[in-house]
């Protein structure tokens, strides 16, 4: 495991850059633990100050320090993404492995449902969800909802690997030695699909964070929990750009773009690692 990581770091520039970007974002998020102010307190610092040594990223019109507020926001945003990713990984693993292993009618039924979830336009549904929940909308509810809607693409990927694992000899050996389906899937097949699960996790993080940012910017989430989208939402509410408070918007956007690019590079480089053809390509040229 460590050797793989070290090799990736040495030979794969995308992985190294992605790792560095994600590391930067995570460190920034961890800083929130040392914040001198609680995230929702306002008017703790003078409002509307541009970036300076005293206030590294400036202050907002609500008298908050952008630096500390941003670290809280990115922490919540990342946690949100991880929650969605974790729950939807379980769903996609179960459905993908079972569909690939069983095949036949069960596979067809599961994949029809799966394709349905890929095609359905989620944004209007999420907006509808907010519309009926209104003030009861919370961070965890949205995470649960998005996890229930966002597993399909990866389940298909996992299923395609599981299908080929099904025909391998060790699966037969397992069945003949009396392993149950659950045992075969968990003990024999799961380790093979884990690399894919890792790379899809990065893509899923990007997907859920992107939707969360979009929904919050429009004010369609719980706007009292600071996330990157909520931060931009409040900046828009105070017409920060027109008022010339650009740092209130520019730094959150910049940070979340860094996170997106970092996660994406990790996903791409892991995909390359998984696909041996492109690894050979790298060695040759």
């Amino acid at each position: 495991m460590w050797r793989i990581l070290r090799d990736l770091f040495r030979h794969n520039r995308a992985f190294a850059v992605g790792m560095a970007l994600v590391f930067f974002v995570v460190v920034f998020a961890t800083l929130s633990l040392f914040s001198p102010y609680p995230p929702n307190d306002s008017f703790v610092v003078p409002p509307d100050l541009p970036p300076s040594w005293a206030y590294l990223l400036g202050t907002t019109s609500r008298g908050q320090d952008v630096f500390w507020l941003l670290s809280f926001s990115i922490r919540n945003t990342l946690l949100f993404g991880l929650t969605v990713a974790f729950i939807s990984r379980i769903l996609s693993l179960v459905i993908g492995l079972v569909a690939g292993y069983l095949g036949g009618v069960m596979d067809r039924v599961l994949m029809s449902i799966n394709d349905t979830f890929i095609v359905i336009p989620l944004f209007p549904i999420l907006v509808l969800f907010y519309f009926v929940m209104r003030d009861r909308m919370s961070w965890s509810l949205l995470a649960l909802m998005m996890a229930c809607l966002g597993w399909a693409y990866d389940a298909r990927l996992i299923r395609s690997v599981a299908m080929s694992l099904r025909t391998r000899e060790f699966t037969e050996t397992g069945i003949f030695s009396g392993m149950s389906m659950r045992q075969v899937l968990v003990q024999e097949h799961l380790p093979y699909v884990l690399p894919i699960v890792f790379s899809t996790t990065m893509n899923n993080l990007n997907w859920s964070i992107g939707l969360e940012v979009t929904l919050s910017v429009l004010g369609f989430t719980d706007i009292n929990t600071p996330t990157i989208g909520v931060l931009i939402y409040w900046a828009n509410q105070h017409t920060a750009l027109v008022a010339g408070i650009w740092w209130w918007i520019a730094f959150p956007v910049l940070l979340v773009v860094i996170a997106f690019v970092g996660l994406f590079l990790l996903a791409v480089s892991m995909n390359e690692y998984i696909d041996p053809r492109s690894r050979l390509d790298r060695v040759h040229g």
């Binding site: 029809s112 449902i113 394709d115 349905t116 979830f117 890929i118 095609v119 359905i120 336009p121 989620l122 944004f123 209007p124 549904i125 907006v127 509808l128 969800f129 907010y130 519309f131 009926v132 929940m133 209104r134 009861r136 990007n206 964070i209 992107g210 939707l211 940012v213 979009t214 910017v217 429009l218 369609f220 931009i232 750009l241 918007i249 956007v253 979340v256 773009v257 997106f260 690019v261 996660l263 994406f264 791409v268 053809r277 492109s278």
Partner: protein, 334 residues
């Protein structure tokens, strides 16, 4: 041809399933909440000053009727499907008494126009560039284009649209950043109006293309670099077929097949992007309508837009699926 018929049937079945599951999700979402949209509307209406209780009771009655929330869960479910089947979502509350269907019908051409133009543009451009990049692996310009496309790819629509808005609205104000055409301009089929229409669509389309390009580019590049190693390509090369012909009719054509399936698969996500982009640029389509409906507390309009979106997207996917056999003859022969 039984192969084609079977294919047709399975695709139609998938279409029905998508609509069925999508609508059921909408139904569950609207009915699983502790909040009653009727009470919510009444609360909003009676927020200022007191109203007499009889009027409120009447209002409650007519709103229940309007929203299709009468009777038990089963009756509501039946009513829900009947409304979808006839396409009648009742009058909109925020633009009373205009029916929801009229409002949605007015917005749809804008969204469809934006979607079709940007999707076709993105798909063709991404595949052409990706195909070239996969075939001419050493070309520096194409490599750079690849890096650029990849850089924009992971950033969500909202952020890209927002960055474009800031760039062309505040930093370098050369393009209109809001609306579908110039305000106060008479709508008609003349040069001025069409120019204004095009000008206003540049930024929304640009943001959709920028985000979408990378996916097709990378997909096509890796597909082409796999196809290039196939024996029949080597054979054609040895046989002296021109490189251009090899690229277009031997390599690209085969690599395009999975990309068409990919287009059908990602249509829902592209649609999400389009309505988000519309909202950012105040484009008068479904997205803007949806957001303003939420802010106005217009229950029937929000539900109507969601339902129409689900049906429209799955119909578009069905259309691509039906065209698919033209590109891949194996489906017909099966």
């Amino acid at each position: 041809m039984p192969g084609y018929a079977a294919y047709l049937l399975s695709r139609l079945g998938q279409f029905v399933l998508v609509v069925f599951i999508g609508m059921n999700i909408s139904f569950i979402v609207t009915h699983s909440t502790p909040i009653d949209p009727v009470e919510q509307t009444i609360a909003a209406a009676t927020q200022y000053g007191s109203t007499n209780p009889e009027a409120i009771a009447l209002m409650r009655q007519s709103l229940r009727e309007l929203y299709g929330l009468e009777g038990g869960l089963g009756a509501q479910y039946v009513a829900f499907w009947r409304r979808i089947a006839v396409g009648d979502f009742g009058p909109s509350l925020s633009a009373f008494p205009t029916p929801v269907a009229v409002l949605v019908g007015r917005a749809i051409p804008w969204t469809v126009g934006l979607l079709v133009v940007s999707t076709v543009l993105t798909w063709i451009l991404g595949n052409a560039l990706g195909g070239l990049a996969g075939y001419y692996r050493k070309n520096r310009v194409l490599r750079f284009a690849g890096i650029l496309a990849m850089a924009f790819h992971p950033i969500p629509y909202y952020i890209v649209a927002f960055i474009l808005l800031i760039t062309f609205g505040y930093l370098w104000p050369v393009l209109p950043i809001s609306g579908g055409y110039m305000m106060n301009m008479e709508r008609g089929f003349n040069l001025g109006f069409i120019m204004s229409l095009l000008e206003h669509s540049i930024l929304p389309i640009l943001s959709l293309v920028l985000v979408g390009l990378g996916g097709w580019f990378m997909g096509m590049r890796s597909l082409v670099s796999n196809v290039v190693t196939e024996d029949y390509v080597t054979y054609a090369e040895l046989g002296g077929v021109s490189r251009r012909r090899i690229l277009v009719s031997y390599v690209m054509r085969n690599a395009l097949v999975p990309q068409v399936t990919g287009l059908a698969m990602s249509l829902g996500a592209i649609f999400n992007g389009a309505i988000i982009t519309e909202q950012v640029f105040g484009y008068p389509g479904i997205g803007t309508l949806l957001v303003s409906a939420v802010h106005a507390g217009d229950y029937s309009l929000v539900l109507g837009i969601t339902s129409v979106s689900i049906v429209a997207v799955s119909a578009a996917v069905l259309m691509i699926d039906l065209l698919y056999p033209l590109l891949d003859p194996r489906v017909r022969a099966r």
